[in-house]
């Protein structure tokens, strides 16, 4: 199946999940749909290697977990029944990614700024054990306000962890305003470079560009890599795109119908 098809399926699953459970963060999940599709259906070495050698993926922006669960369902790691229990009384999948769901989630996240330190620790353990797998961490742009992100960035640069890859979902919107106005991240690529990382900026909805960037890491030997993925919050559903309220709202039945129609 083509990546485009996978990404569309991930988006359709996200719409179904959030409307069924009346949960929030649909905009954040749609923002990373292409990134997780490119990871799970191209970049991550998951099934062709032994379990211990699998590439790890940490969703640091844990509130966008509908996209992760959707990708894991698309990859056959989560059943439709489990997916139907997302954010629902008695279900197994809470509104922030959790290790205990036992479905291929690599770390419990949801409090921002935790994922990159954890990913750096996993990358360090791979080096200690002389294992060849890579660790990918997906961060939100608003999440980059957290000091712990930069603690980890400094550590990974200093430790020359070139088996670590960060992806920043740069959709320019955070919980209560535009990123540029709340805490401007610019110059973002230069910040990472100053911390010892090799950076590349791409269109985070261009699957070819994502595929090519994710499959050419490390960008530089001896440096961790960061992909700054320029994205649109709510991408793929016209009336959700770039609108902050879709950080909170859940589509009603009519909005669900219109969204799924657009994602045909």
């Amino acid at each position: 199946m083509e990546l485009e098809e996978r990404a569309k399926n991930v988006r359709r699953r996200i719409i179904e999940m959030v409307s069924k459970s009346k949960s929030s963060h649909v905009g954040a999940a749609l923002s990373i749909a292409d990134i997780v599709a490119a990871l799970y259906f191209s970049a991550l070495r998951r099934t062709t290697v032994q379990a211990q050698e699998r590439d790890r993926f940490i969703l640091s922006k844990g509130h966008a977990c509908a996209a992760l669960y959707a990708a894991l369902a698309e990859a056959g790691c989560i059943s439709q029944e489990e997916l139907d229990g997302f954010y629902i009384d008695g279900g197994k999948l809470p509104g922030h990614a959790t290790l205990s769901c036992g479905a291929g989630v690599e770390a419990s996240t949801g409090s921002l700024g935790h994922g990159l330190p954890i990913a750096a620790g996993i990358a360090l353990s791979a080096r200690i054990d002389k294992k060849g797998f890579r660790t990918f961490a997906l961060l939100g742009d608003g999440e980059c306000d957290e000091g712990s992100v930069w603690e980890a960035a400094m550590f990974a640069g200093n430790a020359k962890l070139d088996n670590l890859i960060a992806i920043v979902d740069y959709n320019k919107l955070q919980a209560f305003g535009y990123t540029k106005e709340v805490l401007d991240l610019e110059p973002l690529a230069k910040k990472w470079e100053a911390f010892g990382w090799a950076a590349r900026e791409i269109d985070g909805h261009d699957l070819k560009a994502l595929d090519s960037a994710l499959n050419s890491v490390p960008f530089e030997k001896g440096k961790p890599s960061v992909i700054i993925a320029h994205t649109t919050k709510g991408k793929g559903v016209s009336f959700m795109e770039g609108r902050i309220e879709w950080h909170y709202k859940s589509p009603d039945p009519e909005q669900r119908r219109r969204a799924l129609e657009e994602l045909q």
Binding site: L99, E106, A107, S108, G110, S111, G113, H114, L116, P117, I118, A119, A120, G121, I122, A123, L124, S125, A126, I128, D129, T135, G147, S148, E151, A152, M154, F155, N158
Partner: protein, 305 residues
């Protein structure tokens, strides 16, 4: 206690190659021998405690058993949320080791005192809380923390200079107290670095004709409920700790006793709910706050007479 901890850790690391040490830039004159023996298994992650616990969690997710070492506030409070989520929620083998329990760093002031750490660590699901009372208990607690699968917190006292209270290595496992002597008139349950003063207070009381027992309770969580229950039915019971009144050993014992039916009187001997603005050594501050042997004996006498 710190020296005893490092000796124990070296022994453990020789046997278990999963053991890794993470330190946010602490450990001068502590970890040199470890670094010499296992250069690939100790990392100074810089003065960045949140990241340090995050790194430890990543290592633990991939099979390592990680000891994270710093001064108490910087291994419990500064990275509290990483401890809560990364270590405890994920239930990982991360062993936090804090040096300078209670008022150890007296004249450095309240930034370096640790009088709320037991309360904070005790409240976390999956976390075990171990406060050794002397160098022998320090070794025992380190081994127990390593033996159990989940997260643990070990609260050490000074680097060295604390007396060895136990004459020989007592039987100890997590969740079990250590009875040094039973008293007919009163019993003190002490945790952490108050053990010496508990025994000295017991000696002073002896001279007054009061038989006061001493029980060491390094395992604050899980607590030895059976032992607390049996002691509470025999004679007035006292808890003793260099920690705030709120949330430490005294609270743990009170929570249990208040729901456990009949028991004799119980009194917490601990620090008041305030920052310590007076400047002085551990000894000086202990005298000021009634945690000297004399102060403790006085509290016992006024309670039981």
């Amino acid at each position: 206690m710190r020296r005893a901890f490092v000796d124990a850790l070296l022994d453990i690391a020789k046997e278990d190659e999963r053991v890794v040490v993470i330190t946010p830039d602490m450990g001068f004159s502590v970890f040199e021998r470890f670094r010499e023996a296992f250069p690939e298994r100790i990392y100074n992650t810089g003065i960045a405690e949140q990241n340090s616990v995050g790194i430890a969690s990543g290592l633990a997710l991939n099979g390592k058993v990680v000891f994270v070492y710093s001064i108490v506030p910087f291994v419990t409070m500064r990275p509290f949320e990483q401890v809560r989520i990364d270590a405890c929620y994920q239930n990982l083998p991360i062993k936090l080791v804090g040096s300078g329990g209670g008022l150890t760093y007296g004249p450095l002031g309240p930034t370096h005192h640790s009088i709320e750490d037991i309360a904070l660590m005790r409240a976390l699901p999956n976390m075990s809380v171990l406060c050794p009372g002397d160098p022998i208990e320090s070794v025992l607690c380190t081994k127990e923390a390593h033996r159990i699968p989940g997260p643990a917190y070990i609260r050490l006292g000074k680097g060295s200079g604390e007396p060895t209270i136990h004459e020989s290595t007592p039987d100890f496992s997590i969740g079990r107290g250590i009875v040094l002597k039973e008293g007919k008139d009163a019993n003190i349950i002490s945790t952490g670095n108050m053990l010496e003063n508990a025994t000295l207070a017991s000696g002073l009381l002896e001279k007054e004709g009061i038989g006061c027992g001493v029980v060491s309770m390094p395992s604050v969580k899980p607590l030895d409920l059976e032992l607390v229950s049996s002691l509470s039915r025999k004679a007035p019971l006292f808890s003793l700790e260099e920690h705030s009144m709120i949330g430490g050993l005294g609270s743990a014992v009170a929570e249990f006793l208040s729901e456990s039916g009949e028991h004799s009187s119980f009194l917490r001997i601990a620090l008041p709910d305030r920052f310590c603005h007076e400047v002085g050594s551990q000894q000086y501050l202990r005298n000021l706050y009634g945690l000297s042997p004399e102060g403790i004996a006085k509290r016992v006498i006024s309670r039981i007479k």
